[in-house]
């Protein structure tokens, strides 16, 4: 008995030590990443970087649902694109400041998330995916016909305005740091969320829904909470994107967009905090690279999808965590 106790303590000690290395490694990566993000506009085209940050936040928000709750939504374009429309509309027509515009976008996306989640959580697994896809398509048709979205034209020439009323966002540098700030706030919220008791329960639902129910958690409510949270954060990304590009169009609410965010997450690593950032980076870079050529992106996207599913389901970061170096640094990776 004492032997067993002893060995578990050693194992626990080893694990703490390893996770200590892991958090050190994490802190180091975090520091390097932050510095890179701060100096990046000196080396790269700022609009490209801002697009990247928006999609990275979008993918991380999506991963909150797929990676940490185990729900595959095929309708996240609704929240991204919907928030883009809301933000663009209120900034352009009501003349509110950009931060209020984004907040309204977030609130709108959360509302949409509440409605879609309410229906979708009634079914599980594959049905959940199909329901979210169908409802998202319904929202697409709504946007096609509603007057405030201006149909096929979209909302054009959205003013970026003045942050808090006095910081001019037409200045690209200010805009970049504003987007970076939004991105970081979003990431902190996500990090805080998944490490909260709420997030732990979500993970337990992902691992074993029946057991979570038998432990007395009202699983449906937690799922809905996660869905709304994910939708709101996706909306934050979408609203910001509308300000960066100064337009909101049907592209952002189409099912292809929902597919793209799945790909970003899958490619980067489902269930890893930073994986989707890398996935988004790769996909956005690829799109930029192919934008000028005749070759359609969808072929590449499709092939990458199939390769990912067949060969590396853990994604880039997940594979890194599972690799020898990753394990040596003390990362644990399941799933």
């Amino acid at each position: 008995m004492s032997h067993v106790v002893h060995s578990t303590t050693t194992a626990k000690a080893a694990r703490t030590e390893r996770s200590a290395t892991a958090s050190k490694a994490y802190a180091a990566f975090l520091g390097i990443g932050l510095v890179l993000l701060i100096v990046a506009p000196l080396f790269f085209y700022p609009i490209f970087l801002m697009k990247l940050l928006c999609f990275a936040l979008f993918a991380c928000a999506f991963n909150l649902l797929l990676g940490y709750t185990g729900l595959l939504s095929f309708g996240h374009a609704t929240f991204f694109g919907g928030a883009a429309y809301f933000t663009a509309h209120v900034v352009k027509e009501w003349g509110v400041t950009p931060e209020i515009g984004i907040l309204i976008g977030v609130a709108g996306a959360a509302m949409l998330g509440l409605v879609m989640g309410f229906f979708a959580i009634r079914r599980q697994g594959i049905y959940f995916a199909m329901i979210t896809l169908a409802l998202s398509q319904m929202f697409f048709f709504f946007c096609l016909q509603a007057s405030f979205t201006h149909g096929e034209d979209g909302i054009q020439s959205v003013p970026r305005g003045h942050l808090f009323g006095f910081i001019d966002l037409n200045n690209t540098t200010s805009m970049y740091y504003f987007v970076l700030a939004v991105f970081l706030i979003g990431m902190i919220v996500i990090w805080r969320f998944i490490n909260s008791p709420f997030g732990m329960i979500l993970k337990s639902i992902r691992e074993n829904e029946q057991r979570a129910i038998s432990l007395g958690y009202s699983v449906a409510r937690y799922k809905l909470g996660a869905f709304v949270m994910s939708a709101a954060l996706a909306g934050m990304a979408g609203g910001t994107k509308a300000l960066v590009f100064q337009f909101a169009t049907l592209t952002d609410v189409g099912w292809q967009m929902s597919g793209e965010v799945i790909l970003m997450t899958l490619l980067g690593g489902i269930g890893t905090l930073i994986g989707p950032i890398f996935g988004a980076g790769l996909v956005v870079t690829l799109q930029n690279y192919l934008a000028t050529s005749q070759f359609p992106v969808t072929i590449i996207t499709g092939v990458v999808f199939m390769v990912c599913v067949l060969l590396f389901r853990r994604g880039i970061i997940g594979e890194f965590y599972a690799s020898r170096l990753g394990r040596k640094l003390g990362f644990e990776h399941r799933r």
Binding site: L72, F119, R122, R123, G125, I126, Y127, A129, M130, I131, L133, A134, L135, Q137, M138, F141, F142, L144, Q145, W255, G259, I262, L266, Q294, F295, P296, V297, T298, I299, I300, T301, G302, V303, V304, F305, M306, C308, V309, L310, R313
Partner: protein, 295 residues
């Protein structure tokens, strides 16, 4: 002129017919989805792409080999079915042991690839495909003119649906299929080649989609996008029907097609979304779907 609910009978029947035709395609496609899902536990996102492939194969056969509609109706499903069999054998079969969502994601990637390739080769615009000479023209039914080809589509898709149902419910092969759905390990222990059965099922589903595609080619134009437009609606149909029963898929397909047609008469603005609205209502009242046994 005869009126029905304040709508000219002619217009009413016209939309009803369009609804019936759309319903035929929904039924054929959701039937294929249900057959594949029943055995493989994979939602075949590439079903729309296979439908589009059927239409394209028929058109290309006519362009390059002069193969007419009737042979295309037979050959295109075989070609697409074989293509499906190859995909299943080489790639899809590796995913059965994983979470079902991976099957969905894989076939989604497959659909994007096929669609992207055809868009690259043939552009996004639709190309016409003439109905066979024997079925041109229209018949006067007294209360409306019925284009012969559309009547043919309704009849033949009904036959295909019932044929598939009979194949699965009444034949020995169907019995194997149903048994393998319930308990693949046991069926394999009895000496049935279950992996082959899986391949056949996927090929059958893909072939059915292609068959629908050939039927659709003269009605809608042949375009690379025709598949992705319809597949999402078919997903909603499948959610409404529940994938537990073959007959359920067929009945729901026709029902929702007609509902969509009727909405076009009374409130055209909502015709795009009516099926999704019905889906939402069904989810509220009967979450497992109308015919669902639920998985």
């Amino acid at each position: 002129m005869t009126m029905i609910f304040g709508i000219p009978l002619q217009a009413f029947m016209g939309q009803l017919l369009i609804g019936l035709i759309n319903g035929s395609f929904y039924a054929l496609l959701s039937l294929g989805l249900a057959v594949i899902f029943g055995l493989l536990r994979v939602i075949n996102f590439a079903h729309g792409a296979q439908y589009m492939l059927g239409a394209f194969v028929a058109m290309l056969m006519l362009q390059y080999f002069g193969i007419n509609y009737w042979f295309a109706l037979l050959l295109a499903p075989i070609v697409v079915g074989l293509f499906g069999a190859v995909i299943e054998r080489l790639l899809l079969s590796r995913l059965y042991k994983l979470d079902h969502l991976y099957g969905l994601l894989f076939t989604f990637g497959l659909a994007l690839t096929i669609e992207g390739t055809f868009r690259y080769l043939y552009g996004s615009s639709g190309q016409p495909y003439a109905p066979p000479p024997a079925l041109t023209g229209a018949t006067n039914l007294g209360f409306m003119f019925l284009p012969n080809y559309r009547g043919w589509v309704v009849v033949v898709s009904l036959i295909a649906c019932i044929g598939t149902w009979l194949l699965i419910e009444k034949t020995k092969l169907g019995a194997y299929l149903r048994a393998a759905t319930e308990n693949p390990t046991l069926v394999q222990a009895f000496g049935v080649n279950v992996p082959m059965l899986l391949t056949l099922t996927y090929a059958l589903g893909a072939g059915l989609a292609a068959f629908a595609g050939v039927l659709a080619a003269p009605i809608y134009q042949v375009s690379p996008l025709m598949g992705s437009n319809i597949i999402i609606v078919v997903f909603a149909v499948v959610v409404v029907g529940g994938m537990g029963s073959i007959m359920g898929a067929i009945v729901t397909g026709y029902m929702l097609g007609i509902a969509e047609g009727l909405t076009k008469v009374f409130y055209p603005e909502a015709s795009n979304i009516v099926i999704f609205v019905i889906m939402a209502i069904v989810l509220l009242i009967r979450p497992a779907g109308l015919f669902g046994r639920d998985a």
